[in-house]
């Protein structure tokens, strides 16, 4: 609703209309009893007029004992918008799978209403609960109150960023690994790496229960752990026939789209057969017929590394380095490998060089040797097409 009082932000007011939820309404709700939310709205209106952001570059702020978890933010128009002169962000480590009780969320709201703007992101791109906007002197008291309700801070800067995972076995029949438990276990194991930046650059870990990769691990994490299986897809023939009877065109929608051609459909007998040895577990058939087809029983994870967004030397998708790893608590094999890889990266990486960029610069050959992994054909799409390769002198005798 637009009224005379709102005309201070005529551009943003237009974004209160329309069917999609309005962030402007949210800022206005918070602004009813919070001066910083009100100035945030006014400064944003100014940006909509000027077509430029109005936040100063960076700013180092934090809480006692941690090197990360708080992002400093200062308005470049502090006299005009004094309530957002200091408007810092706290990254709060979310629970595995983003599950909450209403009691827990209300506790969080109480703390944030007391110390900050009343505005949040649920959630930030990395997965954290983002508490958006508090002055410098509120940061420590806010963290102390968060600690009282058992919420710790997440990562920022050149540290392990807050890892995240898909919903996994909590609600998904495709979960090949216990994504929530692995996430909790590595988060607790690597608290120091999470809270005290000491790496060349950021390091991200994401855990997906199957190759559908609902947390986009392959595109946006240095360590992408993706659940998979080694034995056979389980088929329920009666349910296959039911899908066919209910109108699913199994030949054209399932078999013809199988990337390996490992499936055969006999329409006369309504029988589906799978040559499991040739299956690459892409998930298409399981996605279409979840009642009839189920993941295998010998489960584990594929570990891929190196994924990242463009900065600095271009975007990368993660590469397979361990085709199959069993995933059983306390996940020591995984944790040890992550530690070895971090050590190599820490020793060799330049400032702001992500793991994938370092592997690219020094060669997969050197990386595999350093972390003690054997070369296997599952790592590549194709062997090299150039003759520029190396021999260890030891091998030429």
């Amino acid at each position: 609703m637009t009224n005379a009082k709102d005309t201070e932000t005529p551009l943003l007011d237009q974004l209160e209309e329309g069917p999609w939820p309005s962030f402007v309404k949210e800022i206005k709700r918070a602004a009813e009893d919070n001066a910083s939310a009100k100035d945030l709205l006014r400064q944003l209106e100014r940006s909509y007029n000027d077509k430029i952001g109005h936040w100063k570059h960076g700013g180092i702020v934090g809480v006692r004992g941690y090197g990360g978890g708080v992002i400093g933010r200062y308005s470049d128009l502090p006299e005009e918008f004094p309530a957002v002169a200091e408007f810092h962000t706290l990254r709060v480590n979310h629970p595995s799978g983003w599950f909450y009780t209403t009691e827990k969320l209300r506790q969080l709201c109480d703390v944030w209403d007391k110390h900050g703007s009343g505005l949040t992101n649920l959630h930030g791109a990395t997965g954290d609960i983002i508490l958006l906007g508090a002055p410098t002197d509120a940061l420590q008291p806010c963290f102390d109150d968060l600690a009282e309700i058992d919420f710790d801070l997440g990562g920022s800067g050149s540290d392990m960023r807050t890892p995240s995972c898909c919903v996994g076995p909590a609600r998904c029949e495709y979960a090949c690994i216990d994504t929530l438990d692995i996430l909790y276990s590595i988060t607790m194991e690597f608290q120091d790496e999470l809270h005290r930046p000491m790496f060349p650059y950021k390091s991200k870990i994401k855990i997906a229960g199957c190759p559908n990769d609902c947390v986009a691990s392959v595109a946006r994490s240095d360590f992408s752990l993706i659940g998979t299986w080694r034995d056979n897809i389980r088929i329920n023939p009666d349910e296959v026939a039911k899908y066919a009877n209910d109108g699913l065109d199994i030949q054209s929608e399932v078999v013809a789209l199988c990337p390996t051609g490992c499936m055969h459909w006999d329409a006369a007998t309504k029988t589906l057969t799978i040559d499991n040895a040739e299956c690459n577990r892409c998930m298409h058939c399981l996605n279409l017929m979840p009642k009839a087809l189920q993941i295998g029983m010998e489960r584990g994870a594929t570990l891929l590394v190196g994924g990242k967004a463009p900065i600095v030397h271009g975007a990368l998708l993660s590469w397979v380095i361990v085709p199959f790893m069993k995933m059983e608590p306390p996940y020591d094999e995984l944790k040890d490998l992550i530690r070895r890889i971090w050590e190599w990266w820490d020793e060799n990486g330049k400032m702001r060089e992500r793991l994938g960029e370092l592997i690219n610069r020094l060669g997969m050959r050197n990386f595999l040797k350093a972390v003690g992994l054997p070369p296997v054909p599952q790592m590549i799409r194709a062997p090299r097409a150039n003759p520029y390769y190396f021999w260890d002198p030891e091998e030429v005798k």
Partner: protein, 353 residues
Amino acid sequence: MATRTDFGPPNYKELIPPVVAKNYGQWKYHERVKPGVLKHVAESGDELYTVRVGSSRLVSTDWIREVCEIADKFCGGHLRFTSRHNLEFLVSDKEQLEPLLQYLKDHGYPVGGTGHAISNPVHTQGWIHCHTPATDASGIVKAVMDDLFEYFVDWKLPAYCRISLACCLNMCGAVHCSDIAILGIHRKPPHINHDIVRAKCEIPNVIAACPTGAIRPDPKNKSLTVNEEKCMYCGNCYTMCPGMPLADPLGDGVSIWVGGKISSARTPPKFSRLVIPYLPNNPPRWPEVTSAVRNIVETWAKHARKHERMGEWIDRIGWERFFDLTGIPFTVQLIDDFTMATETFRSTPTFKW
């Protein structure tokens, strides 16, 4: 009192609903009941309905308290969120499903984003809270989703479609592998403030931060120079050094990328590719961006086969046909000239007219 540290996030085991705790790892199958509603069935026979609700990502504590009331009323006080800013109500009592859906409808919560639909766009902070943006984030997403709302709440598309937005090349979130990515870009080199560079910046680090080697030391000024012919405005130098701002109302705007995917279903994950190098920042509703996105969505929807994601459709028909069907002009910026450029050039005369 010493500050308590390194205690980690709340343990999910204390937060999952009873039906999840009971059937953890024992889910058997799921059904897509209708747009935004999933039904999961466990080996035990227990059923769990999930109702997915799009949120604006930037939400107030008032909103959180409001959805908590809904979860108390219909879901025994439990709820979860997804990696794409959705809220999910978990309903273990089937009797509560329709009343919940009715309540959400009456109160304007959009239910959808599952199956062959457009999911909730992942996006970044933009002008609201970022110090390196080339555009706003929440404003464009709001405008695009108001326009494409029908595709969130209904199943009218050949396959799933993920739209994402990042307000600069840092790309918080996986926008570079989206069916449609909206990316804020600068178009002017940094304007150097030598006083700030001298006072605040580690000159060797700034030089090393440039992916094209465009930055050189300027010993006379104890500062830096930029070879403007080599600069492609990535903004990495500004991240390293506040004396090199690039943001500019005329230079800044939005680019559009298409055909990326994350899932390995059928075809491997792939990057989105640049198809529109620049659209102006035109707040509050960015009409050039909303119409460009709608055109791409609808051209794909009209021509793709069932289950064919944007990038799979383009791989089948070829990029020359994509530009033909969408009517998007092909410009020189779309031809790669960064490190892996030659992999994208064509080495066969087998193309389409």
